[in-house]
């Protein structure tokens, strides 16, 4: 499993761009929003938590279609499916690799973009915490969507159509944590909900994704 993880990470870094692309997208989005809504602190600060979360969501979506597609094209996915490692484990590892290459950089870079969007200082830790707790669920759900659409020619667009509705609960609770953090309110309830969703997704979605992969490899 660790070998697979290392292989995926190495491929992601070697291909160049895969690693930083999500963060670059995030940066562009954070830079574009003030152009759209105006540079005023009073307008930017209230929408910053939502923008940052939606940005993280879209950045996560960007690299999803390559999650299984490359391995499917060169046939290594068939090898992985027949390997002694259960397919559920493969899915989980691939989602983990995706999280390390896109989710983790987003979490680490988020405070920087929070500054760009005038997010109040007291919200920064909550932004990082909510992203750290929420993005694994995004990667795992994305792996499910990628597994559903792996063999399809116009899979990319369909993937976003299928995955985005699944992101709604995570987005709601994640943005809520950051918003409450910005206003100095208690954040425990949405944080627990978010953690619950993430844990449930991590526990159950590998089976659904592996089932979808088996159908697509048949």
């Amino acid at each position: 499993m660790i070998a697979l993880l290392l292989r995926d990470l190495r491929l992601a870094t070697r291909a160049g761009g895969g690693f930083g692309l999500g963060v670059a997208f995030f940066l562009i989005l954070s830079a574009l929003v003030p152009f759209g809504v105006g540079p005023d602190r009073a307008t930017l600060a209230p929408v910053a938590p939502g923008i940052l979360w939606v940005g993280a969501l879209l950045a996560c979506l960007l690299s999803l279609d390559r999650l299984f597609a490359l391995d499917h094209e060169d046939g290594s996915l068939d090898l992985l499916a027949t390997a002694p490692l259960p397919l559920e484990g493969t899915v989980a590892i691939k989602a983990l690799a995706h999280w390390i290459t896109t989710g983790l950089p987003l979490v680490l870079a988020a405070p920087l973009f929070g500054v760009l969007l005038q997010l109040p200082g007291q919200a920064m830790p909550w932004l990082v915490v909510s992203l750290a707790v929420g993005t694994p669920a995004l990667s795992m759900l994305g792996a499910f969507g990628a597994a559903l659409t792996v063999g399809l020619r116009r899979g990319g667009l369909l993937l976003s159509l299928l995955v985005l509705p699944l992101y709604i609960p995570t987005l709601i609770f994640g943005a809520e944590i950051t918003r409450r953090g910005a206003e100095g309110q208690a954040t425990a309830t949405p944080l627990l909900f978010l953690a619950g969703i993430t844990l449930g997704v991590l526990a159950l979605i590998p089976w659904a994704a592996a089932a979808a992969l088996r159908v697509n490899l048949r």
Partner: protein, 241 residues
């Protein structure tokens, strides 16, 4: 009667062939009667004549949810026991469900305009229906994207399972996110009289009408799918020969 008898498409076609005219007739009568009766009810003292919209709004909303549940059950039957007609029925139901959701959303928006002073409000119920509509769209899109029919049935079945969980999750997440303008359930067994008989009976009739309409459309659409698959199978056989 067992549903396994109808796993044979020929048996399903034979049975529904006799059933359909009656069902279509009943659906047409109940739908027309329910909606016309609803249209002729007196005005509500607070909402004026807009109360007449309820006879479209509530049955459509009810069917929008129930059709998804039906798709979930049909998908489960397909995934667990490979009931081919069941998978096709789930496929056939999805566009009907999407249209019902759209009717509920559209009538709700039109109704909300004079009552709440806005076409759209990010209210939990409205938002949940929008999310439900997105799930329907994704489901239909996945069906049309996958070429092999059995794979498509499997993949959409899994999507329907996961989607059901997330639709429910979104429903409560949205409730947490924003308390809304929408009134609670208008029909409830426990709460006793919340709606006058004047409105209640035509509403029941309209609900029955929408249900029969769904059933009739579902059977017709499933028959269409069976015929398409039969044609595809025959053509595939000829290609091989």
């Amino acid at each position: 009667m067992s549903i396994w008898k109808y796993a044979n498409p020929a048996q399903f076609m034979r049975t529904t062939d006799g059933l359909l005219p009656w069902l279509v007739g009943a659906a047409a009568i109940c739908c027309t009667a329910g909606v016309v009766w609803g249209f002729l009810t007196p005005d509500d003292f607070r909402q004026g004549s807009t109360v007449k919209i309820v006879f479209l709004h509530v049955p459509a909303a009810m069917m929008a949810i129930n059709i998804w549940v039906m798709m979930l059950i049909a998908s489960l039957i397909w995934i667990i026991r490979r009931h081919h007609v069941s998978a096709l029925a789930a496929k056939a139901a999805a566009p009907i469900g999407a249209v019902m959701t759209l009717i509920a959303l559209a009538t709700g928006a039109i109704w909300g305009q004079p009552m709440w002073g806005t076409w759209w409000e990010w209210d939990p119920r409205l938002t949940s229906f929008l999310i439900l509509f997105l799930f329907y769209v994704g489901y239909i899109a996945l069906w049309s994207a996958v070429e092999d029919p059995d794979s498509a049935a499997d993949l959409t079945g899994v999507l329907c399972l996961v989607g059901s969980v997330f639709a429910l999750l979104s429903r409560y997440a949205v409730l947490f996110w924003n308390q809304g303008l929408h009134q609670g359930a208008s029909l409830s067994v426990q709460s006793g009289e919340r709606m006058s008989h004047v409105y209640r009976y035509p509403l029941y009739l309209a609900m029955l009408g929408f249900f029969l309409l769904f059933l009739a459309l579902l059977l017709i659409r499933t028959r269409t799918e069976i015929r398409r698959r039969r044609l595809a199978a025959l053509q595939a056989r000829e290609m091989r020969a």
